[in-house]
Symmetry: D2
Subunit: 204 residues, 4 copies
Amino acid sequence: MSKLYFTYGAMNCGKSAALLQVANNYEERGMTVIVAKPAVDTKGGDAVTSRLGVSRPVDVLIGAGDSVRDVVLPVALAKRTSCILVDEAQFLSEGQVDGLHEIAYGDGIPVMCYGIRTGYLGTGFPGSIRLLEVADELRELRTICRCGKRATMNIRKIDGKPDFADVGHQLAIDDGTTDAVYESVCPRCWHQAKMEWLREKKRN
Amino acid sequence: MSKLYFTYGAMNCGKSAALLQVANNYEERGMTVIVAKPAVDTKGGDAVTSRLGVSRPVDVLIGAGDSVRDVVLPVALAKRTSCILVDEAQFLSEGQVDGLHEIAYGDGIPVMCYGIRTGYLGTGFPGSIRLLEVADELRELRTICRCGKRATMNIRKIDGKPDFADVGHQLAIDDGTTDAVYESVCPRCWHQAKMEWLREKKRN
Amino acid sequence: MSKLYFTYGAMNCGKSAALLQVANNYEERGMTVIVAKPAVDTKGGDAVTSRLGVSRPVDVLIGAGDSVRDVVLPVALAKRTSCILVDEAQFLSEGQVDGLHEIAYGDGIPVMCYGIRTGYLGTGFPGSIRLLEVADELRELRTICRCGKRATMNIRKIDGKPDFADVGHQLAIDDGTTDAVYESVCPRCWHQAKMEWLREKKRN
Amino acid sequence: MSKLYFTYGAMNCGKSAALLQVANNYEERGMTVIVAKPAVDTKGGDAVTSRLGVSRPVDVLIGAGDSVRDVVLPVALAKRTSCILVDEAQFLSEGQVDGLHEIAYGDGIPVMCYGIRTGYLGTGFPGSIRLLEVADELRELRTICRCGKRATMNIRKIDGKPDFADVGHQLAIDDGTTDAVYESVCPRCWHQAKMEWLREKKRN
């Protein structure tokens, strides 16, 4: 049975490399995959790029208001695709995730989504929340906190200091207009950084 | 490191039995646990009851507007608790889950929550969405669909027929005022039932 | 697709309760399961008994030299079984696990085995080793160490003190002939206890 | 707490890429890792190479009779290593895995091993069996069968046909002396191929 999968993790945990590996695994067996990405993620242009130094062009860019049945399914069917891979899936809308659910369980094409679970405020993105609700398999991709523990959350830093101010978007998209830097951390380091920021804020 | 855990599953998958087993495991080692439950879940009164025939009184009922720091933490500290177990965690509010996150990572007491992932409409409850976002470990408790596959979703039935009408609450609380019956199903059976219901509705 | 599952854990982690819950889940949906157990495990007689206080008769006792195709498959087919549940699976022989693998992938009946991963010497049992090699899904059932960490190993104690002497069998079967007591512990506590026992032994 | 991890999978599922990603994750945070490999694996020489096109030199080659305390631990300590990564871990001896267990739980350095679970006969390697017994966390790395299902086993092919003859070693090491080709498959395809091979053999 085809399924909807969600592989999630903190920032920079290797999601794109994992996606590229799965694409490779399918293609080595003579099967076809297509790679899709929300158009809002302009990082790397029309490619999925891993920090390991591997890259691959995206087959379909999903616009903010697009129906995945309209833009993804026809390409998948035309290419007789064995699997649809979606990078940066946290930027999908709820309705787009529902569309992917339908493709997996109605049309019978497996869909594997990769994305960030939460932003620096510790809250989910529309796409990741919906995937956590309906994906058949949730898999965590792990990375490491500076303290040595497993990192599952993210911190936003301005001038090297954690900053939890709500700047109106969960995660800055790396378009050069901000000098915020992100760091993936364990829940305890995240919690401590937030408490310190709150205390500091109170003082000023 | 103490953590926040979320064990989720479809209805009637054995969440309460799993919780009671963990309580047993701790107590056999001479440790103390407390069991909490949102007060809105009136099923079984002030007890956690498994359909296997095992039961246990609840130590703390969490009211709709309660702060878990005010009602759960003092009991946990007074009893020198090794673990806080929360049943029916889908009914927690977002803020209550944040409070449990703080207890796990700020106060250092492990918190294990058990709950339903989504209601019959396929959408999450406030408590389960927040737990899916911030719990350090997500574990699925599996049950079986009538088709033999793994059940992860739920169907609401009126007079034996699936009914996807939005009745204003995700999941009827079993208080005798409704004759809806729930069945846990796999995503494909859920999707088929919904498509049939939509077609039927269109016809009428 | 039917599969071979192995749910493993340290001693007293709740394996029998988990098995009884799965049996319950199937039967609530009107399906049939059979429960099998190696005959060598005389604990609880011909029943699977959980320390939670729940119990259920065993349908098939598997003798040491039995072929599972001869003793389990006919009962499963006669009862039109949806799932075969095997308790204390660590005591199966390699060949019996291979037979269950064949039943799952050749005859199409799902097989779920529950057992202990390793004995107090930290080495596997024939049945658990073979299941770790070939089971399609490995699931850990967790319990807690006295230090608060996750317990995955076991210690054998004589007069309250850890004893790592190799007594010729991995795990005493609780038949009243030994006063060894077992405790499930985390790998670090297991390692420390073993180092202390080795030092003590050297001194004497 | 440092742990011993085992990430296992069928052949060509992307184990080396996963290892290289973890190394990258640590080093991006300014931490040090060392990469070790059994010397018997001559594939790729003294490097860990992923079919994605990424590669990295090995820090320590572990000889067949080496003690990991003698050859791995000193390098790890000298480099103040945050994590020891071991590729092709199926080729380790039992004693070497026990040594890595001791390094993780006695010396406090996390050890992550990557390897193949079983060879084409469906039986484990000494290193993978021992890791399945004692690793604290078992994680499966998935790949795909030609039938579209999850591949967890391997088939050996001569002239394009599955061959289950026991050639005295579980897995040919790719040294140019054999023209066997390997394919990773799901348990059902593995089982069918084996049954066909047995029937064919009987006929001749």
